[in-house]
């Protein structure tokens, strides 16, 4: 590859498609579906970038990764340098490169996207991060001199991890408290292996440990300790709450207590975190269901459906969604992957009742719907259509309707203000400061269920806010 192609050539160069495992093979295993780019493909793709003077893609990124700069490094074959640029603003690029909804963020704003397909920023980010993980020499970790300040991070999901990394680099002593036996939050229990291999999450956790971050698992803040105890007895100068949206919604229809009905959280946790697919080698079981219905149209619904498809006894997976295909909040890529793997979609169907026999699920009764006027979210509201209901025979139902707020922390701190739904209210959203002195919060516990990258963005904002708070004189205790 010599020199850069001319602008007109760049526009004609098609977007590089990454390699994927064959759907017929992959639907029987948990290996990562996308194989990513080879160095040659990455450079070809990077050369398509126009290197805009005022890059709009950067504005679309919640953590403002300097996209043209890292893409140029890839085009020049300087892959480790590309990774370094990304890591300056994004501490988990191997994760976000895989799970970010780029089509709604950076890539949505790509100028090339107006005439042709946008630059594959996510796949390039993933390439650089993977290259660094496999070829890098474990870059020397640079940490500012110790400030003598201690910060507690509650929850080790994307918000907590990014806050922890930034604070440790700034020289603060950081301790992460995680309720489960494994750190990583939704990156571990929620997002399946075939979309985000766990060794990648492990290596991000190792990186934090090298920065000096201590991770305490099996530690349920709110139960074993209140926020005041952390600050008054254990000497933490500030606290960041990133506990996520941990209380699954159910439908509120008859039959939800039959055996064989799961929240997506339970189903995914059994399989991902507890390895139930490998029962009895691992002790946590999952039933050998044959026909599974998944209810919902978001990314978690796709993850649950595709996970269900991979279990050894599965014959059919039917995804039931009350709106139409275009209204599904899931990423397009996930929908296409799910379809290729044989997942059946029933659109404009609203579950009315789960039926059962002898205590076990045997079907879902659905009401046909049609799309009416647009609602507050801009999507057309589904309206029931008079006519026959249909019953779909299934032996499992997985409910993926999102999560409400976990009550444990707020219950242990009266002075932490929450809204009517239990989300923590911020006094200053610019720095994610709560109404309680020295306590910051971010991610789903503040916004309700959202994306990995927006939680990371909140973690980063809070880290800067905490740093500022700690370094001002009134921040000292």
């Amino acid at each position: 590859m010599t020199g850069s192609p001319k602008k007109s050539d760049r526009l004609q160069q098609p977007r590089q498609k990454d390699c994927e495992l064959n759907p017929d093979t992959r639907k029987h295993n948990f290996q990562e579906v996308s194989l990513g780019y080879t160095p040659e493909m990455a450079r070809l793709e990077a050369h398509r970038c126009l290197q805009c003077k005022k890059p709009k893609c950067v504005m679309g990124c919640p953590v403002h990764v300097r996209i043209p700069e890292f893409v140029q490094h890839i085009a020049d074959g300087e892959f480790l340098e590309a990774a370094r640029v990304i890591k300056e603003t994004n501490s988990l690029p191997a994760v976000t490169g895989r799970v970010c909804p780029q089509e709604d963020q950076c890539e949505k704003h790509c100028v090339i996207g107006l005439k042709s397909e946008p630059i594959a920023i996510g796949k390039l980010e993933r390439f650089a991060a993977d290259y660094e993980r496999t070829h890098g020499k474990g870059e020397p970790v640079e940490v500012a001199p110790p400030t003598g300040k201690k910060v507690a991070i509650i929850g080790s999901g994307p918000a907590g991890l990014s806050a922890a990394g930034d604070l440790a680099k700034l020289g603060h002593e950081v301790v992460i408290f995680e309720a489960l036996h494994q750190a990583g939050g939704v990156l571990f229990y929620g997002i399946p292996e075939f979309r985000l291999p766990k060794p990648i999450v492990e290596s991000e956790l190792d990186y934090l440990k090298r920065l000096g971050v201590e991770i305490k698992v099996n530690y349920v803040i709110g139960q074993i300790k209140s926020l005041d105890e952390l600050m008054q007895e254990d000497g933490f100068d500030a606290v960041f709450i990133g506990t996520g949206a941990g209380l699954p919604y159910f439908l509120g229809i008859p039959g939800e207590n039959y055996n064989g009905v799961y929240s997506a959280n339970e189903f995914l946790t059994r399989v991902n975190l507890m390895h139930a697919w490998d029962f009895p080698h691992f002790d946590t079981p999952i039933h050998p269901h044959k026909t599974l219905a998944v209810i919902g149209g978001g990314n978690t619904a796709m993850d649950a459906a595709r996970t269900a498809m991979r279990l050894p006894h599965t014959e059919r997976v039917i995804l039931i969604y009350r709106r139409g295909r275009d209204e599904m909040p899931a990423r397009q890529e996930e929908v296409l992957h799910a379809e290729a793997e044989g997942i059946e979609f029933r659109f404009l169907s609203s579950p009315k009742e789960i039926t059962g026999e002898n205590g076990w699920v045997n079907g879902v009764v659905c009401q046909p719907m049609e799309l009416g006027e647009a609602d507050a979210s801009g999507r057309r509201r589904p309206v029931a259509v008079e006519g026959s209901e249909t019953r779909i025979p299934v032996d499992a139902v997985i409910i993926a309707l999102g999560s409400g707020v976990n009550p444990l922390i707020a219950k242990s701190a009266d002075d932490l203000k929450t809204d009517s739904k239990g989300h923590i209210e911020l006094a200053d959203p610019e720095i994610n400061l709560t109404q309680k002195r020295g306590v910051f919060a971010g991610g789903d516990i503040v916004t309700g269920a959202a994306t990995v990258i927006s939680a990371m963005g909140a973690g980063k904002r809070a880290a800067l806010g905490i740093h500022d708070y700690l370094m001002r004189s009134e921040g000292t205790r």
Binding site: V217, P248, N259, F279, P280, H281, D283, P407
Partner: protein, 286 residues
Amino acid sequence: MSKILEKTEPAPGVFRYVIEAGEIAHKARPGQFVIIRIDEHGERIPLTIADCLLEQNAIVLFVQPVGKTSIQLSLMIAGDTILDLAGPLGNPTEIRRFGTVALVGGGFGIAALYPIARELTRGGNRVITLLGARTESRLLLRQEMESVSAQVHISTDDGSCGLHGNVTDALSFLIQSGEKPDRVIAIGPLIMMEKIAELTRPLNIKTLVSMNPIMIDGTGMCGACRVQVAGEMKFACVDGPEFDGHEVDFDTVINRLGAYKKEEKESSEEFEDHILGPCSLGERAP
């Protein structure tokens, strides 16, 4: 890692463990539970905290071998370690001055009742304890319960000790004799708790029962432990584990608790075959 400091067998097939628990020992209150995972391949199971030993930074857990994990646990001895221990989880039992409180414990459930009895007595209540077991030798914590109760009434299924009958009969006799407890707390098999609730419902005596459903995380995240209470869905881990016995839909709880019976059997049989050799557990089985 949490070390087993002590193991005893207070009744045939029931094991009492003292386990290193650090801060949990100092924070746990009656009615709360822990979640344990024995090793890397283990499942997460909830166990009620039966006592806290502050000087040893330890908690007391009772284990009855029924599924793979409890069988594996029952074979561990002092000095062995448990990989994961998280808690205290769930809401503590409400301890106030109620007046007369009848505590009803059936079989294995008696272990969970002991710290509740002690704190209620300390809190100025007159505690009447009713303990039921299949037979005298399987009666747990009798002396301990006597030391923290105003009265203890025993009933056994075979009549080997106390009343020949079950604890529901015992509570019924107690009430017939003129006692009117201000509150009843029942912990034991689901059928027992349901019967106690049915007995006290027409008498309008507030009756709490403790739910021990299948759980994974124990912090509200998975929703596996859902219980229908007064027509509303509640999670035993964050809303319970104690609920008003008159409002619990016992049929669904019983059904859901049996969800993995077949797998539990498969898992424990495999464990027995591969680790213990065939049939070696036969002598131990209750």
